[in-house]
């Protein structure tokens, strides 16, 4: 009798869930300009899925994953999110680029499908979408952590900002300028550049003649490397401060010793002297043969968050998933694969401790830890 009730309940539960139990769709930039970020994000997720499936899956179900390549094109990414939803995805992992995410997230929102993104532009969590969740905090959380550094450590009175003219760069730029205004620091030079720009001679030249006390650098990794090399070549002496895209391992590899002295505030770095992150880095390199970066970490913890939250709910319910995430804190001691204690607020914005990093002798050295913003 009990078996019949159990069997019927299981059947009803299976019929009640409108999606295939654990179809995960990865929609990411696997080709095009965003390929380095997207492929890392994907690799982190796949590593997590391997581990999750090896330990029995989510609620006993193994994860079935499909990968979709957005080609770093926002319209294509929108189409692919629609497709993933049509195919019955439980959760969508991606996209990483803000310019794609801001377009495709409305599809997921309208269909009530949770979306775990790697994007950092502020407006993503400001559009009232209850189904989007970050894996790295937006520029409006990260950049203000630097204000103290500019004002107190560098004692800067006039600063310059060089930034990449796209969704990502503009987001960081606008927040920085607002923060400087609040702190009473003058922004005396504002230098935009193109994504993919190779020639920074003019930019560095302008910075030299501007005579700022410090420069805020908000470019993508490769451009940061080229910028640093040009700055070294022209002998720019001003302190260069940025975010994770300025001091990542990739930038150090490409810029060589031109990267020394750069300082950044990073939300995630594979070089953080936190054991869980170090161990993850080793696991990743062992599996893939190349190093991870902050995008790989984003993918990994995003996927594990899906497992933890779903198991907390005890069911594959997309609405319950979103509701649970709002205001949730996953303590790293109880949920070790999050690597760091992570909290989300009602907009899907993330809060977590972060680090100040300086490049010394070709290595990222964590100088201080910054507590999670409230």
């Amino acid at each position: 009798m009990f078996k019949q009730i159990a069997g019927a309940s299981a059947l009803m539960l299976a019929m009640a869930s409108p999606v295939h139990a654990v179809d995960i769709a990865i929609v990411a930039e696997l080709s095009g300009g965003g390929a380095p970020a997207g492929t890392q994000y994907r690799d982190g997720i796949m590593l997590a899925i391997e581990e999750i499936n090896a330990s029995g899956g989510i609620l006993g179900e193994k994860i079935k994953v499909t990968q979709h390549d957005t080609q770093t094109d926002p319209q294509i990414s929108k189409g692919l999110v629609t497709k993933a939803i049509d195919d019955g995805a439980y959760v969508i992992m991606g996209t990483v680029y803000s310019s794609s995410t801001i377009v495709n997230m409305f599809e997921a929102m309208n269909a009530g499908v949770p979306q775990i993104v790697g994007a950092e532009a502020p407006n993503i969590t400001q559009k009232g979408n209850p189904y989007v969740f970050r894996t790295a905090y937006g520029a409006h959380r990260g950049v203000p952590s630097l204000t103290g550094y500019f004002r107190d450590n560098l004692k800067a009175k006039k600063v310059a900002v060089t930034w990449v003219n796209n969704e990502f760069g503009k987001g960081g730029h606008d927040v920085f300028v607002a923060e400087m205004k609040k702190a009473g620091i003058n922004v005396i030079a504002d230098i935009p550049s193109e994504a993919g720009a190779a020639d920074f001679a003019a930019d560095v030249s302008r910075l030299k003649s501007a005579g700022a006390d410090a420069v805020f650098v908000y470019l993508h990794e490769e451009e940061s490397a080229r910028f640093l090399k040009e700055a070294k070549k022209q002998g720019l002496k001003t302190p260069l401060v940025g975010e994770v895209t300025l001091t990542g391992q990739k930038v150090i590899d490409l810029a060589g010793d031109a990267a020394n002295g750069a300082v950044a505030h990073v939300g995630l770095t594979a070089q953080a002297n936190v054991k869980s992150i170090q161990d993850f880095g080793k696991k990743f390199s062992a599996k893939y043969g190349h190093q991870t970066d902050h995008n790989g970490i984003k993918g990994y913890i995003g996927m594990w968050a899906v497992k933890y939250v779903t198991e907390m709910n005890g069911a594959f319910d997309q609405k319950k998933f979103a509701d649970k995430m709002h205001g949730l804190c996953l303590d790293v001691n109880k949920h070790p694969n999050m690597l760091l204690t992570t909290c989300w607020d009602k907009d899907g914005e993330l809060a977590r401790e972060s680090f100040m990093v300086e490049v010394q002798n070709g290595k990222q050295v964590v100088t201080t830890t910054v507590a999670a913003a409230k």
């Binding site: 390929a35 190779a198 001679a201 060589g256």
Partner: protein
């Protein structure tokens, strides 16, 4: 004032690389009446051949460079001509343009898929030093780019004007039918043209990649600039490509420093439109008559 000199010098150095890419473009245009939309990728690829030589075949740099050069000549010169140009030349220019666009995509994807999607560090040929001349920083790299470019251009012009092979190549480009009657092996001359282009592109690659970093997408902008330089300068003259490249390099830098950073890319484009509308043969070019 120092800033202006600095900016002009940097512009000349960058411009000399554009010129190298543009010359090959000009030569192919003359020989095969083709716009090679893959020219940027031709400059991107040899660097990767070298990286393969160093990282996978364990060669020392000088050997890897020779290896890269040999592969480029074979693939970007001979194979490109035989597989793509020969069948399509008779069908008309537009088919070939589309084909070169497709080849560009193919090359980008091959590198991205089989080597890496990320930018790779590339060993510099020239040491990193720089001189400080009262505030103007002149790097060894910039000077060497300029010198190498000049040497190549002078050498190429001498080759084309003074040697028999060079004059045959020019003849084949100017009027293939008559040249053939006069005993020039036109097909072989066209092949030589593509080989010369491959060599020039390889040289540009070796010079520019330490600065731009080796990445599958580094050909896109370079290709566009190369052909703007060729047209602006005058594409029936090798000197034209040099003038065009240097002009664009300097103008681009001056614009970005003093006028506007956001519309920086517009300057070469506006220059292109102005030249085409008012002096279509280019600044240094000779006007061409049109067959009716």
């Amino acid at each position: 004032m120092e800033q202006l000199i600095q900016v002009i010098l940097s512009g000349l150095a960058t411009g000399s690389i554009y010129a190298l890419a543009a010359i090959g473009f000009t030569l192919i245009w003359q020989a095969a009446q083709t716009v090679n939309f893959a020219q940027g990728e031709f400059v991107m690829l040899p660097a990767f051949f070298v990286l393969i030589g160093i990282n996978f075949l364990g060669m020392p740099l000088w050997l890897a460079m020779l290896f890269g050069l040999a592969l480029s000549v074979l693939i970007l010169g001979v194979a490109f001509k035989r597989i793509l140009v020969d069948p399509l030349l008779s069908h008309g220019g537009l088919s070939l343009i589309i084909a070169t666009m497709a080849v560009a995509i193919l090359m980008k994807e091959l590198v991205k898929e089989f080597y890496s999607a990320e930018a790779q560090p590339y060993p510099a040929l020239v040491p990193q030093g720089a001189w400080d001349l009262s505030g103007v920083i002149i790097s060894l790299q910039d000077i060497s780019h300029l010198i190498i470019c000049f040497v190549v251009i002078v050498g190429l012009t001498l080759f084309l004007d003074k040697t028999k092979v060079g004059r045959c190549m020019q003849a084949a480009a100017q009027n293939a039918a008559v040249a053939e009657i006069l005993g020039v092996n036109v097909k072989r001359m066209i092949l030589y043209t593509f080989v010369v282009n491959a060599v020039l592109a390889t040289l540009a690659s070796f010079l520019i990649t330490p600065v731009y970093l080796a990445k599958f997408s580094s050909g896109e902008y370079l290709g566009l600039i190369a052909f703007i330089a060729a047209i602006v300068g005058g594409f029936n003259q090798v000197r034209g490509a040099l003038a065009g490249g240097l002009l664009i390099g300097v103008l681009d830098n001056i614009t970005a420093t003093y006028i506007t950073a956001e519309y920086r890319q517009a300057i070469p484009l506006l220059l292109l439109i102005a030249v085409i509308l008012f002096k279509p043969e280019g600044i240094l070019g000779k006007p061409e008559g049109r067959a009716v």
